[in-house]
Amino acid sequence: MTETTLRVKTGSPYARILSYGAARGEHLVPNEDIVGPIDSSDEWIRQRTGVVTRRRAGKDTTAIDLAEQAARDALERAGITAEQVDLVIVATVSNEQRTPGISAFVAERIGATPAAAFDTGAACAGFAYGIAQADALIRTGSAHYAIVIGAEKLSEFIDPSDRSISFLLGDGAGAAVLGPSEEPAIGPTVWGTDGRPEAIGMTASFTEFRDGRAGWPTIRQDGPSVFRWAVWEMVKVARAALEEAGVTSADLAAFIPHQANTRIIDEFAKQLGLPETVTIARDIVDMGNTSAASVPLAAARLLEEHPELSGGLALQIGFGAGLVFAAQVVRLP
């Protein structure tokens, strides 16, 4: 048999983030509006989490709507048309429909078809997982321009009486457009799982709900245990991402951690020994925790409020249910 050599593609030597886009749930929900069922107070929530308000979407707004809006915003800021996009990745844990994937809806709505489109889970690390994939696919020639979106309507899966996580959660979507680059602009991704599916998850499965064996599934977490992991274990991941990118915390312009709780962010920054020159994203204070959407939403806001950070390096890290995590250093658009 004649041996034929398979041809493979190579792409741009490097990829970079060209823009971020954002969509936030239309309703501002202050602590006062949700303290009743958890027998709590505005002060209790602020002290324990730093959250003052969260944004939640209306009944008729879906995760797909939020994803579409964020994608359009990111495309406009990048100056890229939907026709140029050949890869759409959407990270979500809360789309109301199992199939088709949310990415296929988004690709169709923004006019990016026939772009490759697929969903990624990876919970609160989903956006960073998506960046890792888009970066790799651009560099191997499978994609030229990509949109990576984190989109969540978590308010569909909350229990108003839950004191573990529901009161923190918000709705929104953040997007990034990626394209080819002449210079390195996305560092190596340090990612993985830490086999603890019980630490953050759902109260029941959909089949248990269907069969009347459980109520509507909602999100729960073992807060103190997750806090410990999210700070002291994730600091090691953050340090590894810096090291693999060949930079130190003094080289950073910004730190964009998953927006889970300001006390995680504060302790994380302390353990990481970030110099005061590093701007820390704190979008959670009035946005709440939006899982896969939190990192790109926080990045979009950081660049709105601090345009001088443009061109600087940011360490982004996502961590959540699984437990899963991913971190990388990126050059801000």
């Binding site: 807060g223 103190p224 245990s225 806090f227 700070v231 006390r263």
Partner: protein, 82 residues
Amino acid sequence: MALSTEEILAGLAELITDETGIAADAVQLDKSFTDDLDIDSISMMTIVVNAEDKFGVKIPDDEVKNLKTVGDAVSYIEKAQA
């Protein structure tokens, strides 16, 4: 050499003061972390991680839930360092 109960209590009190601002002399063996000292679960976890470093012991998450009073924590550390 293993530390005495008094030494562990003093060391733990220092960690609690650092994290919460509670006066060290208010940290006594019979005090409940939540009811008497009003330490929330996140501060408690920070104290636990710092106690692991300070005393060279391991305090797993599941064990933290059983540490209701300062005395519980002191005796856990005392046994763990043995």
